[in-house]
């Protein structure tokens, strides 16, 4: 059985936020207004964290795309009282929206702050409503949501492979962010497959994960920038 993971090469990332847009469109992530954003209610499954270094004019901006890190030892699943979030057999931290009671314990437990709470009923401007992805549900108010590694794409890819009586192939299942990245900074695949791109990349000396010391064992890895 596959163990899905992601490697993000920070040397290639330009901070263009194409991954953020692709994710938002693919997963019907709600748009909130300026006032709500200022209250910390922005909905993002993929975010670009920015880090500013130096003093003007000698400044440098570093970008770090941050989806759900799909931990192998996730703190969020341990606090969920209704098993709305759990580690699935293929290593994806599932978020089952209709099961969620909105207690937000998981949001408090996640050290990477990847989860968003739906404060409002889903609503899109009329022009955008027709562009909603029918493969992903619109989450109701009162539930927590987060990056699912585009698991709906996995469901469809598996069915296509089964209908052709074959195994799932490399790159047949790939999340929207990785697919759309214009600099191919995001790689995705089976970490346990010895010949997959991601399993080769995680052997690089540049590899690191966020807050390694917490022991959460994320399956989203980063390749550090080359100075």
């Amino acid at each position: 059985m596959a163990r899905w993971g992601m490697v993000i090469d920070l040397n290639k990332c330009t901070g263009c936020a194409e991954c953020v847009t692709a994710c938002k469109v693919e997963n019907n992530v709600a748009v909130v207004g300026k006032d709500e954003s200022e209250m910390g209610r922005t909905m993002l499954w993929m975010d670009i964290l920015t880090h500013y270094e130096g003093e003007y004019p000698n400044t440098k901006v570093r970008y770090l795309p941050r989806p759900c890190l799909q931990c192998d030892n996730p703190p969020c699943t341990k606090v969920c009282p209704v098993r709305a979030t759990y580690l699935d057999p293929e290593g994806i931290v599932a978020q089952i929206f209709p099961q969620c009671i909105g207690c937000r314990y998981c949001m408090a437990a996640c050290p990477y702050t990847v989860k968003s709470f739906n404060w409002y009923e889903p609503h899109w401007p009329q022009e955008m409503a027709a562009a909603l992805n029918p493969d992903v549900s619109a989450r109701p108010a009162g539930v927590v949501e987060k990056c699912t590694f585009c698991v709906h794409r996995l469901q469809k890819a598996k069915e296509q492979a089964d209908s052709e009586n074959r195994e799932l192939q490399d790159n047949e299942y790939i999340p929207a962010c990785a697919e759309d990245c214009p600099t191919q900074a995001i790689s995705f695949g089976d970490l346990d497959s010895p010949h997959s791109e991601v399993s080769e990349l995680i052997r690089s000396p540049r590899i690191f994960t966020l807050l390694e010391e917490l022991g959460t064992e994320p399956k989203v890895y980063y390749l550090s920038e080359i100075e």
């Binding site: 929206f97 549900s137 069915e159």
Partner: protein, 166 residues
């Protein structure tokens, strides 16, 4: 005790009756009194002849007006229901069928997965459609998760939440 029963009985009856009435969904009026029995037995059509997406896609689809137009185009037909179809066809207008078997959008259900790959008969979820002389106004089974889970458990297929929910 006798008094309790005496007063509770009408209350229980009213609750039960309300349940039965709301359960039969009497308000649903389909635009045409479609006869599945006639189409399957007399005309000899199979389910997939009209619900053409069943074997290849996740959604089975209610047939579009072009499919009806293959056989019906007479808006003046003596048969009132046939004339209605002919009228929609002549105007090239979509028939406003009311979908009865609805899976919530947070559940991934694929007809191809169930019909083509798992070889499940249409009748398992939709009943003996070929015996029906009226269109659906209530689903054959309430499509609740327990219905899915029971069958998945019996069939020993994947029961992981993330394989169906999204």
């Amino acid at each position: 005790m006798k008094n309790t029963i005496k007063y509770l009985t009408p209350v229980i009856l009213v609750i039960a009756l309300t349940g039965i009435i709301s359960g039969t969904n009497q308000d649903v009026r389909q635009p045409i009194s479609f006869n599945h029995k006639l189409h399957t037995e007399e005309v000899g059509l199979a389910c997939v002849d009209c619900h053409s997406n069943v074997e290849k896609h996740s959604r089975a689809l209610i047939p579009n007006i072009e499919t009806c137009g293959d056989c019906h185009d007479d808006a003046e037909d003596e048969n009132r229901e046939k004339a209605k179809v002919g009228s929609y066809v002549s105007r090239n207008e979509k028939i406003p069928w009311i979908q009865i078997h609805v899976v919530p959008d947070h559940a991934y259900f694929s007809h191809r997965r169930h019909v083509t790959l798992a070889k499940i008969e249409c009748q398992t979820c939709h009943g003996e459609v070929s015996e029906m002389e009226r269109p659906f106004i209530i689903p054959f089974v309430e499509l609740e998760m327990s219905w899915c889970i029971n069958c998945h458990e019996k069939s020993k297929v994947v029961n992981d939440c993330n394989s169906c929910h999204r």
